[in-house]
């Protein structure tokens, strides 16, 4: 089996195919500190792509409450359990990837979810990690916690879905790295569904073939960000082209967050897929939990993120997030403003680093009332 270099685990690993980097790679950063669990992303995707017969149960974009939310049921907990100890030596993963842990006769370690596992897309919603005891009051750090984890297909560099398909019906587009299921070639074997650790392949019971997130490729081809990104209420999301660490462009917003400031991290990098959706860890969640989910860079990322008030460039990228539905290729922070540019270098958006604020008096003498909200 060929070996490929996966920078997210900082080592070579086995993969059924030679590495073939696309010309550019579809990517996004989601800031988990800002997600409010409103599911607007979920429904913008559903309305756009999965409102057909047989697609009722599909959420190519879903938002689950961690630690007890899953779609499908226990998707990550089950695989983490099957994979065994996942050890790191510094930034190098020393455990097994799902390809290295593949059982005999399979391309990757995985499982096929049961039908019922798909039936509770919002199970665990708003459940905290522990019991809220009598007399509990707000403390910092919070005595209990939860956070929302929005998920789409990661358009992985080393997709397990593609590796497992004996028909080569799944392909990664050389022009943008988007991973697609060829609806003509798929024969509904569901090997991809079994192999994808993120469980982002869904089987259509009416057409009897598999479907998945298409990365909104018709929008991407027209310089637009995806539906889930453009419609995000919390403005937590930003699309971009990601590079490898050695070719990172500091003016590219996604490269800047992932490679320069290193505040955005891959989800379960130990699975070995070099996935392409990155998460800014929620600062209120214990790093011990987050390390398992986002790898060894968690503490460093939280520390950098907490210093954002002294980091205009970082703040600039974060305020550009959700400020336009156009795809931002480069950014620049100047004179207290963050500016986004498209592929041709034309300015498409300009946002102040600090919104103007007006502070009103607590007591309104004219009306003789006290104000609850003074900004």
């Amino acid at each position: 089996m060929p070996t490929v270099f996966n920078w997210q685990i900082n080592r070579e690993m086995e993969y059924p195919y030679e590495a073939a980097l696309p010309e550019r790679q579809f990517s996004a950063v989601f800031d988990l500190n800002k997600c409010i669990g409103c599911q607007t992303c979920t429904f913008s995707c559903k309305g756009g792509w999965t409102s057909g017969r047989g697609q009722e149960y599909m959420f190519w974009n879903n938002v689950e409450t961690k630690p007890y939310g899953f779609y499908p049921m226990a998707w990550d907990a089950r695989l983490l359990d099957m994979l065994g100890p996942q050890t790191w030596d510094g930034d190098t993963y020393t455990g097994k990837t799902i390809f290295e842990a593949a059982p005999p006769g399979r391309a990757a370690l995985g499982f096929l979810p049961d039908e019922e596992d798909w039936a509770y897309p919002n199970i665990g919603e708003d459940e905290p990690n522990g019991i809220v005891s009598d007399g509990a009051y707000l403390q910092i750090p919070h005595p209990v916690w939860h956070f929302y984890l929005p998920r789409i297909c990661n358009h992985c560099q080393f997709p397990a879905c593609l590796a497992a398909c004996p028909r080569k019906a799944i392909y990664k587009r050389p022009e943008d790295g988007i991973v697609l299921v060829d609806q003509q070639r798929c024969r509904g074997y569901r090997e991809c569904m079994r192999a994808c650790p993120y469980k982002k392949i869904m089987y259509n019971p009416v057409t009897r073939v598999s479907e998945k997130c298409i990365g909104c490729f018709p929008r991407v081809e027209n310089g637009q960000q995806t539906l889930c990104v453009a419609n995000c209420i919390g403005r937590i999301r930003m699309n971009g082209w990601i590079h490898t660490p050695d070719t990172a462009d500091p003016e590219n917003p996604v490269d800047f967050l992932v490679h320069v400031r290193k505040v955005a991290l891959p989800l379960y990098p130990q699975f070995g897929l070099q996935m392409n959706i990155y998460y800014i860890p929620p600062v209120h969640v214990p790093p011990r939990y987050l390390r398992q989910m986002l790898g060894p860079g968690v503490e460093r990322a939280i520390e950098t993120y907490r210093q954002v008030h002294d980091d205009p460039d970082l703040l600039g990228v974060l305020v550009l997030s959700g400020a336009t539905d156009r795809w931002i290729n480069k950014f620049l922070v100047r004179d207290g403003q963050a500016i986004g540019f498209d592929e041709s270098g034309a300015e498409i958006v300009r946002v102040p680093l600090k919104e103007p604020a007006f502070i009103r008096a607590f007591h309104d003498a004219e009306r003789g009332v006290f104000r609850h909200n003074i900004t």
């Binding site: 060929p2 409102s51 003509q184 009897r208």
Partner: protein, 354 residues
């Protein structure tokens, strides 16, 4: 890319495995002696898988081995053999496959449910055995019967409302009719159909309206299976008392050059495969046979053909000689089958690794 080297090793491994099975069964792929001669019948070939007409057709029991040469492999087989019969009426050829399967898996809608299925593979050029699913430049013709297609035909398309009886959804884009709607009728406008991508792009698996439960396919190596546009394979499968009986029927003359040719003089290296849905068998995870060679019995010469000057007694002698020869061939074939039956079973674990 899967390296050519590793693919070659796999192909060689499978070839070795098949050779082993053939040796175990005491057969070799001889050019002279088919393992089964498809007899001629003056009556039309039986279309009903349970017809008593099949009782008088010779049967051959074909051992099955789990596919373990390529990933994904079947490591826990569930079906050990299939009984095969074949007959022709000079216009059509019919095959019947009969195998024991205690579970009737006729659905392929729920994400964790797989169909029962069966297939026959022929080389397109007679007499040239191809390894498993053919090889580059060596096309195989595959007839694939699917239990869910059969159920769609027998009991109506297994729409989501059949899978989930209390299902209700009030709106679909461009749909016609009233909720909960009926598929495909209320979804036949092109704009509505676009929301069923597999159907819209013409994937054979995704077509809600079918006449026959058998897909006609060609392949030239692993992963190359492609639906053939022409020539329906007719047939039917029936499950009764823990046994599937499936009949496949096609015109003797192929509708296209890249389909199986049944020549009277020739001999076909044919393979069989069976899938048990309950055992999550799908695609490459199947039980398959080694090659069984088939010959085709010529229909008798029609009486109105010009007869020479030869005296009647010479004709009679010729017929007696031919009959004796025929009996000898049948005896040899039967003996071969008996040897095959009594031979030790085929290795169960495949032994090739994946």
């Amino acid at each position: 890319m899967r390296t050519a080297g590793s693919m070659r090793i796999r192909v060689v491994a499978i070839a070795a495995l098949i050779a082993l099975v053939l040796t175990v069964r005491g057969h070799t792929l001889s050019a002279q002696q088919p393992q089964y001669v498809v007899g001629y019948s003056a009556n039309p070939v039986p279309t009903d898988p349970l017809s008593t007409a099949w009782d008088s057709v010779p049967a051959i029991e074909v051992p099955l081995i789990p596919q373990a040469g390529v990933t994904p492999a079947l490591l826990t087989p569930s079906i050990a053999s299939v009984t095969v019969q074949a007959i022709h009426d000079d216009a059509h050829i019919a095959f019947r496959m009969v195998w024991a399967d205690p579970t009737r898996d006729v659905e392929a809608g729920r994400p964790d449910v797989f169909r029962d299925a069966a297939a026959i593979q022929f080389p397109v050029a007679a007499g040239v055995p191809s390894i498993c699913m053919g090889a580059a430049g060596q096309i195989s013709n595959i007839w694939h019967w699917k239990a869910d297609w059969q159920e769609d035909i027998d009991a109506g398309f297994q729409d989501i409302t059949r899978l989930y009886p209390h299902f209700f959804k009030d709106y679909y884009p461009f749909v016609e009719g009233e909720p909960p709607y009926s598929f495909p009728d209320d979804f036949s406008q092109p704009d509505a159909r676009a929301y069923s991508p597999g159907w819209a792009v013409g994937n054979a698996l995704s077509q809600p309206m079918r006449e026959w439960p058998i897909e006609n396919l060609i392949a030239s190596g692993f992963g190359t299976l492609t639906t053939h546009e022409q020539a329906a394979i007719e047939g039917r499968g029936v499950w009764e008392n823990g046994t599937w009986s499936v009949v496949f029927i096609r015109e003797l003359t192929p509708a296209a050059a890249d389909l199986a040719t049944f020549q009277e003089a020739g001999e076909l290296a044919t393979a069989f495969a069976v899938w048990n849905g309950s055992n999550e068998e799908v695609g490459a995870r199947k039980q398959l046979s080694s090659f069984v060679t088939f010959g085709i019995e010529a229909p008798p010469v029609t009486p109105d053909e010009p007869v020479g000057e030869a005296p009647a007694s010479r004709d009679t002698t010729l017929i007696v000689v031919l009959a004796l020869l025929g009996a000898f061939v049948v005896a040899i074939t039967l003996a071969t089958i008996v040897v095959g039956r009594n031979a030790p079973p085929a290795p169960r674990d495949g032994g090739t690794g994946a």
